[in-house]
Structures are given as C-alpha cells and as structure tokens.
C-alpha cells in the first residue's frame, strides 16, 4: 500500500515561492541586462570624458565636472529643463482629464462602442515615433480652427512669459497631447468596468444624481488608476522622440563638445527632475483623502477610542474586583480569628 507523503509545514509555501521566482526570472534578467546595467554604466560614463576613437572607446575620469559644466556653460539644457517642467505640469492634468472623460463616454451603452474604442486607441499604434515627428513637422499637431496666436497674445499680457509659453505650447500641440491618451483611456475603461453596479443602483435609490455618483462613487473608486495614469503620462511625455530634451541629450552624445560622458550627466539630471515630477503628482494624488476615506478614518479613530475606553473600564472593573476580593478575604480572615 502506497504511503501518503507527509508535507512538512512551510514546504508548500516555499515551492510556490520558487515557481513565482521562476516566472519573474525572465523579467529580472531583462531588467538587469537592459535597465540596471545600462543605468550603472550611464552613471559611470557621466563621471568620465569619453572619446569614441576608431581604436576603441577611451575614458578619462573627471569626477562631477560634467555635472558642473551643465550648469555653468549649457544654457540650452537648463532652459530646456525649465520649459519641460512647466509643460509637463500643465499637460499631464489635461491628458488625464481628457482620457477620463473619453473613457466615461466609451463606457456608455452607445452604438458602435467597439469601433469608437478602437478609434481612440489607434493613434498609439500608428502615430508613434517618426510618424508623429512627421505630423508635427507638417503642423498637424495643433487644432487648425484654434487661433493660437491670439491665445498667446492674451496669455503674454497677463502671465509671466515662462508660464505663457508653456500654456501656448500645450495649445500648439493639442492634437499630439490628445493622441497620447490612448493607453490612459484603456486603463480608465478597465477601472470603470470594475466598479460594482450595485453601488450606483443603491445611490440612485437614495436619490443620488449622476454628478453625485461621479464624485462619490466613480472618482474615489478609480483613484489608484488616476495615479497610475499620471505616472504613465509623465514617463511617456518625458521619453518620446518629440521631447526637446531627449533630442538635446541625443545630439550632445554625438557632439564634439559633449560626448557620451556629458550626455550621460545630462540624462541623470533629467531623470532626477522627472522623478521629482512623479513624486510631486504621487503626493498630490495619493496624499489626498476623499470624503469616505476621511469618514472611515474618523470612524476608525472613534472605534479605537471606544475600545480604549472599554479596555480602561474593563481594567478598572478588574482592579476593583481584585481589590474587593482582597477586602473580602481580609474580612473572612478577621471573622475566623474572632471565632
């Protein structure tokens, strides 16, 4: 008779862990080879002056000189960073808000819903890289009916130039920005479809309007997806071929006065700014509690307070009980002695 194998405690968990690691291994290898190592190498480059000699690559260690040079002698990069920062801060909310509106429309029961969904995702497939560049070159990136010159004049009058330029640039590239929304629409659509419909039904039975449903059910539920989309948008905008800083870094990499080392230092500074923008938005979104979270937090706080009070009362009761028991004991001992 075959004996049943005895599974030791924790063995199953370990086995599952091993399988899990096996599954993520290809990604890990890819990450180390294609991301982590180039990053280390790029940082190493940024501390060197690099020459691409026909006889081989030559490195000359210069410490942080490349970084200081950027601030001392490179007005293009610093001004480019400033423009990038302003444009990103303005464009990201525009893209995410647009994606949310479109995804809500596409979530309605409308005729040819599948076709419309495809239309909004299509730019992601066809208008990437060089195609996008061509469209931008042919001035197809702005809405023809929009009088950008007038908007610019108006903004120049009332706003500081840096801000006016950044907002004008958003209007100039309106179509491009909207075309960046395909993936975000998809993510929002997935999140919207996950919302339990009974929540809306219950809200409607209680007399909630569509507006209230949006603010009190839809928005709080998809908040994690908003953060995800914001991060995705920042990364996409920061790393595409139309980004002037990317072009500048690329040109510098191959220029005489720049080279791989200098361009790597630029890339690292750019990454730090990019990361700062991501953190800014993450804190802005994740740090904000909605009404339910605030109520829940208050309820949890009150519950804790009640529990503490209960515990206090219970402990006080126990203390009294013990004291009373000791008293009784003393009394009974006294009675016995008297007898």
């Amino acid at each position: 008779m075959k004996k049943n194998r005895v599974v030791k405690p924790g063995q199953l968990e370990r086995r599952e862990n091993r399988v899990g690691y096996l599954f993520v291994l290809p990604w890990l290898i890819g990450f180390v080879a294609l991301v982590a190592w180039p990053m280390v190498q790029s940082f190493q480059f940024s501390l060197n002056k690099i020459k691409l000699l026909p006889q081989g690559m030559a490195k000359l260690y210069v410490g942080f000189e490349n970084y200081s040079q950027i601030f001392l002698t490179d007005p293009d990069f610093i001004l480019g960073l400033e423009t990038y920062l302003m444009e990103t801060l303005i464009a990201v909310p525009v893209i995410v808000a647009f994606a949310l509106i479109i995804s809500m429309l596409l979530n309605q029961k409308i005729v040819c819903r599948g076709f419309f969904r495809m239309i909004f995702f299509l730019p992601i497939i066809i208008a990437s890289g060089p195609v996008m560049q061509q469209l931008a070159d042919q001035e197809a990136a702005s809405i023809p009916m929009m009088n950008v010159t007038m908007i610019q004049q108006l903004l120049d009058e009332y706003l500081p130039q840096v801000l006016a330029m950044s907002i004008t640039s958003v209007f100039n590239n309106m179509i491009t920005l909207l075309w960046y929304s395909g993936v975000q629409i998809l993510i929002f659509l997935a999140a919207l479809q996950k919302i339990d419909t009974s929540l809306y039904e219950a809200a409607k039975m209680d007399g909630g309007s569509a507006w209230e449903c949006f603010w009190k059910i839809t928005l709080p539920t998809i908040k994690p997806m908003i953060l995800l989309n914001v991060i995705y948008t920042i990364i996409t905008m920061s790393n595409n071929e139309q980004n002037e800083l990317i072009v500048l870094i690329y040109d510098t990499m191959l220029s005489a006065t720049g080279g791989y080392g200098y361009a790597s230092a630029m890339a690292w500074l750019y990454s730090i700014i990019e990361a700062a923008i991501v953190i800014f938005f993450a804190v802005l979104i994740a740090g904000r509690k909605d009404v339910y979270e605030r109520r829940a937090k208050k309820y949890r706080r009150e519950l804790k307070k009640e529990k503490r009070l209960e515990k206090k009362i219970r402990k006080r009761g126990e203390r009294h009980e013990r004291r009373y028991a000791r008293y009784k004991q003393k009394q009974s001992k006294k009675g016995t002695t008297k007898i």
């Binding site: 990053m39 000699l53 006889q55 220029s255 791989y260």
Partner: protein, 534 residues
C-alpha cells in the same frame, strides 16, 4: 474570458512598447583596429601593372600602392550611382583593391558614422557632413599630410584649398580635404530685369553693384522684390570684404575679425527692413504678395535675385516648371575679394586614423574627390542616359570639379551648361525629353554669364562649421536665440541694435570656442599617439 484575452494582448503590446523604448544602447568597448597605421602599405611596389600607377606621383615621393588583395570601405552621403561608377573605375585600375561603398542619407549621417566607429566598423575613407568637431574630438581623421604634400596633383586644384589650408583646421596636420564643391550662386532672373526695362548687372560685379542691383530690382508698382536668401548676405559679406578672411565671421585661420561681419549684419538688416528682401514664407506679407502663404519667393517670377546653392540650378531653375513660367535664372558668384576668394559649399572627407591602408585610402579619397582620373570617371557617369527616380544622374546634385585640369573643366562646362565659347564638347541629351540639355539659344543668351561664373568660382571658402573647430558650439551658445533672447541677427533687425556692439564679446566667445575644440582634438589625438600642434 474574451475581454481578458483582449486586455492581455493590449497589455502585452504596451509592455513590449515600453521595453523597446527603454532598451538603452549598451556601449561596448571597440575592440577593433589598433592597427599599425603606417606600416603595411609602404612595402611592396614592383611588378604588377596595377602597382605601377602614377609614375609622377611616385617619383615625387608618394609611396607605391600595395599589390596585396585588400578591401577598402568608403562611407558617403553622395549619389550612390555616381560613387559606384567611380569605385568601379578605381577597381579597374587597381584590380587587387576591392572598394565597398557605403551610402547613407544625410539625415543623421554623422551619427551613423560615430555608431560605426563605436561598433568597430570605422570605414577607411569617409565623408564628413558639415560640423568638423565630432570628427576631430574623436580623432576619426587620419593624418594625410605626407601624402598630401608629396602628391604633385594637389598643386593643380582649387587654389583656396592650399592657400587657406582647408582641412588643417588650424593645426599642423592635413586631416581632411574638400571632396565635393558647390560654388555658391546668386541667381539673377533676367526676365525680371527685362520686365523692369533695366540692365542686368555685370557678372564681375562688386559688392556695392550687387546691392544696387537688389535695390533696382525692387519695384512696388511691378510687385517685384530685390532678393531672397537661402544662404545669407551676412555669410558672404566678410568673405567679399575682409582682407585675409578665409571663412565666415571674418575667420582668418587663427581667429575671428568680426568688423566686416558687423557691417554685413547692419546692411542686411537695413535691406530687409527696407523691403528689398522678399517676404518670408508663411507670413501675412507673403500671402498679400502672392496669395499663397507658403509660396517660395523664387517661384513667383517676381524676384530679382535668389542667394542659393549651386544644386538649385539643375534641380529647379533649369527645369520646365520654372522655364515655362518665364524665369531665366543665371548664376553670379559672390563678389570676388581682394585675394580672389568667393563663397562656396565644400563637403570634406578624410581617411580613418585607424585604417591599415592609409596610402590606398588616400588614393581612393582622391579619386572620389579631387583627382583627375576620378573626375573623368564622374564625367563619363554623367553621360549615363538612364534615369534614377525620373531624373538623369547629372541632375542629382552635380558638384563642380575640384581639380583645375582644363580639359575636365571644359568638358564639365560644355556638356551641361550654356557657354558663349566655341564648343569642343556637345551638350548631353536630356533622357527625359530626348532633347539637348543646352540649346544654341541658351548659349547665346546665358552663355556669357555661365562662362564668367565658372571663371570666378574657383577660389571658394566654405561655411564655418566644416573648417573652423568650435564654430557650431559658438553659434549655438552665443549667436543663435537662447530661451527668450533673440539671436544676434534678429536683435539687429527687429530690435534696431547695432551689430558693432556685439563684436568684442562675440570675438572673445568665438575664439574661446575654437580653442576649446582644438584642445579637445589635441587630447583625442594624443590618445592615439598623434601630436597635434596648433
């Protein structure tokens, strides 16, 4: 389930896209080369017919060509058919040498070259597109001074190449040399002058005569403008005026003298603001003038002069589209300076600092660029009646000879351009319409202009970026617009500033940029054991 599948596919494609975007180009140390650059070639000489090449050259000190079976790579952005024709002729003369021509588009050409270098595939000979700095700071160009100075054929080339020491970049080494030559042309539409009933200027004009002609061709009633520029008056002015000037911004080979540049900028601003310059494209003024906002001024038939490149003639002005609109464009050179210099576009080329066959690479470069034999092969190729993309080969940006050989020039001029001289060579037949490219009428009407043009154009000095180290970085950091600050020229034109006020600062910055670029080049060459002095 279906939805899950769709979402998985979409997610996968997104992840793939992101990964593809993130995949950095990992740089690997170039293990190639480190070959002894001088050794191999100076060895064998005798015996073979191919080796007994140019008796004059060898007797004058050029080492003999190798008789070993070797392969040379030539990287270029020239016309592919033309280069292949010259390569075939070269290989016919040197059957032991195989030439592999690698044609690349001008778009990103220098980047491609550096990528090849980085991956250990540096070509033996190469063209350099514009900016010389990337090639110098990475020591791509080999020293060809001994070959250059020992080659008697180099005494019979465009004089400015030796007089202005082009390709030395202010150092003691000949690192590159012009291998394509497009004289700059100030095209004059004779039809406009006929319409206005005024006489066209003399082909041997002075600067002031040129400016007067621009003004004479501007006529509000007739709706004509004096000039439109692709290449700028600001570029031309110092070359036409400065004594000792061999480049843009008054470059004299060692530093900038920008007084003439300032005079040029002020005059240019005055002419543009005085409406002698045609309206710029995509402006209200252009729309008001032509009814088409995006019109090119030189296509209107109402423009006196177009300051442009040489290739515009065969590419556009000599095509039925323009001729049928009544335009009769003829070229003038930029006014000739005291030293005889005019402005021209020169594309440079050099041999690799890591080539194992520098002598052979030099010879190949000569064939592709300035050598008589190479030019003969080119002229033969231009007679090709086949069309490429509906155009005959000669219409595909045909440069002028760099050699001063009289026969080559005569054949070049008479085969493709009008001439007033008695013809030794007949015009080629245009394979598109089956007719002669140049008719007898055109000879009569335009011949004298072309003859004068070709006489005057042979002493060209090129754009700054291809001959002055640090020029590009000087322009981008100190001359062009940075952020909200307008570029220097626009400050003069739009804000009414005086260009003379910028001179001292620009001279200092320009010279600093030059010294920095030379220092970078010296550092790179020191790494490969070559001492570069400047």
């Amino acid at each position: 389930m279906k939805k899950k599948m769709v979402s998985m596919v979409l997610t996968a494609s997104m992840v793939a896209g992101v990964l593809a975007g993130c995949g950095g180009a990992a740089t690997t140390d170039n293990s190639a080369a480190s070959a002894d650059t001088s050794a191999k070639t100076e060895a064998s000489a005798t015996g073979d017919a191919a080796a007994s090449t140019d008796a004059t050259a060898e007797s004058a000190g050029l080492p003999a060509m190798t008789t070993d079976e070797i392969t040379l790579t030539y990287m270029h952005f020239d016309n592919e058919q033309l280069v292949n024709a010259v390569a075939d002729a070269f290989m016919a003369k040197y059957p032991n040498i195989t030439v592999e021509a690698q044609a690349f588009s001008t778009d990103g050409y220098n980047d491609t070259l550096l990528n090849l270098v980085q991956s250990g595939q540096t070509p033996d000979c190469m063209m350099i597109l514009g900016n010389c700095d990337f090639a110098l700071s990475n020591a791509l160009l080999g020293d060809m001074t001994p070959y250059w100075e020992a080659d008697p054929e180099n005494q019979n080339i465009l004089p400015s190449i030796n007089n202005a020491k082009l390709g030395y970049y202010g150092t003691d080494k000949k690192l590159a040399t012009p291998i394509k030559f497009f004289p700059d042309a100030i095209y004059c539409d004779l039809n406009v002058f006929e319409t206005l009933n005024i006489e066209a200027p003399s082909p041997n004009w002075t600067w002031d005569e040129m400016i007067d002609s621009f003004k004479a061709a501007t006529n509000t009633d007739a709706g004509t403008y004096g000039f439109n520029q692709f290449h700028s008056l600001v570029t031309y002015y110092p070359v036409a005026h400065g004594s000792g000037c061999i480049g843009e911004f008054g470059w004299n080979g060692e530093g900038y003298n920008m007084e003439q540049w300032a005079a040029g900028v002020n005059q240019w601003a005055e002419l543009v603001n005085g409406n002698y310059h045609a309206p710029y494209g995509d402006t209200d003024a252009m729309e008001a003038w032509t009814g088409d906002r995006l019109m090119w001024a030189a296509y209107t038939g109402k423009l006196g002069f177009q300051l442009d490149a040489w290739w515009t003639y065969l590419n556009l002005f000599d095509t039925p589209d323009y001729r049928n609109r009544g335009m009769e464009w003829v070229p003038y050179t930029t006014p000739v300076s005291e030293e005889g210099y005019v402005f021209g576009v020169l594309d440079f080329g050099g041999i690799s600092s890591a080539t194992q066959y520098p002598r052979e690479a030099y010879e190949l470069l000569k064939w592709m660029g300035w050598g008589v034999e190479g030019w003969q092969a080119k002229l033969d190729a231009y007679q090709d009646v086949e069309t490429y993309a509906d155009l005959p080969l000669y219409r595909q940006a045909m440069p002028c000879p760099i050699t001063m050989d009289e026969e080559i020039w005569k054949e070049f001029q008479e085969s493709f351009y009008p001439t007033a001289n008695t013809r030794t060579y007949q015009s080629v037949n245009d394979p598109v319409n089956g007719e002669a490219l140049v008719t007898a009428d055109e000879d009569t009407k335009y011949g004298k202009y072309f003859d004068a043009f070709f006489t005057n154009c042979k002493n060209p000095v090129p754009f700054g970026d291809c001959q002055i180290p640090g020029f590009s970085s000087f322009l981008s950091t100190s001359y062009f617009a940075v952020g909200d600050t307008l570029g220097v020229e626009d400050q003069v034109r739009l804000e009414g500033k005086n260009a003379n006020d910028f001179v001292a600062e620009l001279v200092q910055k320009g010279n600093e940029a030059n010294q920095a670029a030379l220092a970078a080049a010296k550092e790179a060459y020191a790494m490969i054991g070559v001492e570069l002095n400047y």
